[in-house]
Assembly symmetry: C2
Homo-oligomer: 164 residues x 2
């Protein structure tokens, strides 16, 4: 089975889109920082201050490396199934990292008055904008990986016909 | 293709495990509440107070319904592939809901001193224990769904052999 010539070009395009998105997400989140004062105490906002943001950077960095390798390694029949499972795991990890990050980002923007957690985006607006941009890139990466998985599946078992 | 008789029993067991886990996660998170006082102001902790917890309850409720239907509907060849894609989407949604919830739960437990968010688990310990229990159930559901997807894939294309 594996991918024939006809299927190779769309897959390469999908991998390159995913590569651009994961690299952007890693760099934007990883390099963004902003200082602010909070009741007279100076603090620095960066990804290292939140476990969810750290997880996001690590997962997107791993996905970048993985996608880079897969973009230039020809998809051979002999390990095509294994790559499909790895793609599936990568989709789940990206999905999970963006969800964790979105939950924290939403809290940063709106706060949670019940928990006594105040919104902080008004104090570090540049950092919040960068987090939003990183989330958009992460979202594109996540969706692209879902498309890669469904497309690979479709190449192995035709999903559009009801019969197999 | 679809599942033959040999594959039906393990799949039913997996669906029932997923059903038990998603129903538990929904009920534990959905019914848990605790009142506490915070600087003299009374507040109530329940899932409705956090978008991440709401998302968790909704996704686990949807997954419960979906799993219930799939447990008792025989897997016919004619829609086997469609069910595989639905299972994949369900895995992603459960994965995403547990990640969002975990990020907020971790914040509730440890707080984030940089953002000025104090831990609240010491004030609502019973609610926090229930959230932990719901997260464990959600985690079991998520892993079970990943196994369901990989097992279905394995039934369609043998993952253990390198040749197809």
């Amino acid at each position: 089975m594996g991918l024939d010539y006809r299927g190779r070009i769309p897959m390469l395009v999908l991998r390159l889109v995913a590569l651009a998105a994961t690299v952007s997400a890693t760099l934007i989140m990883g390099t963004s920082h902003e200082s602010a004062e909070y009741f007279g105490i100076k603090f620095e906002a960066n990804y290292k201050k939140s476990p969810a943001f750290k997880y996001f950077v690590i997962m997107n960095a791993i996905a970048s490396g993985y996608t880079f390798i897969l973009s230039f390694v020809p998809a051979k029949t002999s390990y095509g199934h294994f790559v499909l499972v790895l793609d599936l795991v990568m989709t789940l990890l990206l999905d999970s990292s963006i969800s964790a990050c979105l939950a924290i980002g939403q809290l940063g923007k709106n706060g949670n008055s019940n928990a006594g957690w105040l919104p902080i985006c008004s104090r570090v607006p540049k950092f919040c904008d960068n987090v939003t941009a990183a989330l958009v890139a992460g979202f594109v990466a996540s969706i692209t990986y879902l498309i890669i998985v469904i497309y690979s599946l479709h190449n192995l078992i035709n999903l559009l016909t009801l019969k197999s």
